[in-house]
Point group: C2
Chain length 192, copies 2
DNA sequence: CTGGCGGTGGCACCGAGTGCCGCTTAGCGT
DNA sequence: ACGCTAAGCGGCACTCGGTGCCACCGCCAG
């Protein structure tokens, strides 16, 4: 977040998402991305370590933000803290939503992207587990904390998936889904 | 599980896991795997669509087993059904544990394997969501059901991770961890 | 003017994965 | 026993993602 990524990276990203949308992810080679971005192939890989990271790039700025947001939350209920942190992080301007939608669409139906995304989430999971353990006064390695961390991320994936599935859902709808998902986690899945 | 995979595939798999353990996953090329298995490189790819699948191969026999086990469970509590189904599926003989351990170890610390594994789990997630929706009498697309499916898989990942972290844990320990994880899901994460 | 220095990108290389095709071999009918 | 067919095998060549190396260009400092 420190410095805005160079304008060039931004342009590369836009052009790439454009091509992915029109041709498909697998059908677009890095060579095409490079020429379309007016840059050498070698240089492309200096901006993005992987073709996948063009799509996922911004997502992991989120980790630092998540940790910060969690640190700012008081109270001893990790679910409430996590919910608040996520709502704080995922506050998108209306203009950003179409781009978000495109990204989510790609992530959903290009398996390799989904895979890479979940690897990124591992850090989120452990950050959430650590936070929960702290609030509970438990060992962060405790199974419950670990399950919590992973379950929260799982819930967020479900939220994004559901949001993406409703074509006209807006930012408020996203918030509502987050609430619903966290309620489920909080209450547990026993009985009704 | 239906027909035992050809003896050749089995041998290939053993040799490969051996090499992975001694040299590391990334440091072992498919060429090496092929020669070590006494087979052409091209043939290797007929047995395993991907180098990754050598490690993950058996895991997705599990899907069919999971679905079958879920279908066999009665009652309207999806957590109980899922727990029972998982315990039924993950009933390993003592002799299998070392191999399981090696696999889990690879999956844990080769990010690409972890990624691929989670993609495989998507089918599990949706199977679990569908099952839960049926027992609750809800729409399988409902957010709660989706969260449930993903959370259960998340819990299982935590279980395997915790089990793998304790060097001398046996099959009973695995069962205990499963119980603990499912209890957490059932009760929810509110308060202590 | 000159000597670093960071960004660039060409080139060559590696490894995974795929299509094609010729070969072996096992199985079959006659 | 003989030939034919079909399936599995594996070599070859190719694509594409990703990396190391290095030569080049522009910039600022001395």
């Amino acid at each position: 977040m420190a410095t805005t990524r160079s304008a060039r990276a931004q342009r590369l990203e836009n052009v790439a998402l454009e091509l992915f949308a029109s041709q498909g992810f697998d059908e677009t080679t890095v060579d095409e991305l490079a020429v379309a971005g007016g840059v050498g192939r070698r240089t492309f890989f200096r901006y993005f370590p992987t073709k996948l990271d063009v799509v996922l790039g911004e997502l992991d700025d989120g980790l630092a933000a998540l940790v910060a947001a969690l640190a700012g939350e008081r109270g001893d209920d990790p679910v409430a803290a996590a919910r608040a942190a996520f709502l704080a992080i995922n506050h998108y301007a209306a203009a950003e939503l179409p781009a978000l939608r495109r990204r989510l669409g790609l992530i959903e139906d290009v398996p390799e992207l989904a895979a890479r995304a979940t690897v990124r989430y591992r850090d989120w999971e452990s950050a959430l587990a650590t936070d929960a353990a702290r609030r509970w006064g438990e060992d962060p390695a405790s199974l419950r904390a670990q399950v919590f961390g992973r379950a929260v991320v799982a819930a967020m994936r479900a939220v994004f998936s559901a949001w993406h599935a409703r074509p006209e859902a807006d930012a408020d709808a996203l918030g509502a889904l987050v609430d619903e998902a966290f309620d489920a986690l909080s209450r547990g899945f026993a009985s009704p």
